[in-house]
């Protein structure tokens, strides 16, 4: 699933490890989500959205709209 995680992280000058610490997940997890290799669970997606003060749909592109 496409997302804006890398862009939002870069805006704040955070490394993947920094973001991982804030989300309480590993750097590998952040990398996997950023590159679209892993779709986070709903609780983790909410956690990410809340960290950036955004709605989930502003952060992740719905697969049905990603054509």
């Amino acid at each position: 699933m496409k997302n804006r995680l890398k862009e939002l992280r870069a805006e704040r000058g955070w490394s993947q490890s920094d973001l991982g610490e804030r989300l309480e997940v590993s750097r590998q997890s952040v990398n996997a989500i950023e590159t679209g290799r892993y779709d986070p669970s709903l609780p983790l997606a909410f956690k990410i959205a809340e960290l950036f003060n955004l709605k989930i749909e502003d952060l992740f592109t719905s697969p049905s709209k990603d054509i």
Partner: protein, 134 residues
């Protein structure tokens, strides 16, 4: 002192259980061969090394319960599924070959050894899928 991560706790348990396995295997070998233990005590002694291996399976289960990072949990689940499929496939194929007298007998505990080798294969599968965007 910082709290140890789930993977550190898992590694610690595996090291302790591996040492216990070696010690119990030697002890069982000596007890049964040198002291000629037989009957019900021999069954108890013979099963002791297996308990350490079963402990390693339990350590993997504990890791999956304790790991809060869902992506790392997914990787471990996939790794163990590959290992299980690998070990069961070889055991099943060998069983049929053996029943038709095409190959010799091998002791059932080798299935655990093949399963641990399958964990290595599972790790390769994870790496392959990660580098190929899955």
């Amino acid at each position: 002192m910082t709290k140890r991560s789930p993977i550190q706790r898992y590694n610690g348990r595996v090291v302790i259980l591996s040492l216990a396995y070696v010690a119990l295997l030697f002890a069982a070998q000596i007890a049964i061969d040198r002291y000629d233990v037989s009957g019900p005590p021999a069954y108890v002694i013979a099963i002791l090394p297996a308990l350490a291996i079963i402990g390693i399976f339990a350590a993997i289960a504990s890791y999956l319960v304790e790991e809060t990072d869902e992506y790392l949990r997914l990787l471990t689940v996939r790794q163990t599924l590959v290992a299980s499929g690998f070990a069961l496939s070889i055991a099943t194929a060998w069983g049929f070959l053996e029943s038709f007298d095409l190959v010799g007998h091998f002791d059932a505990y080798w299935v655990a050894v093949i399963w641990f080798a399958g964990l290595g294969l599972g790790s390769c599968v994870n790496k392959f899928l990660c580098t190929n965007g899955q």
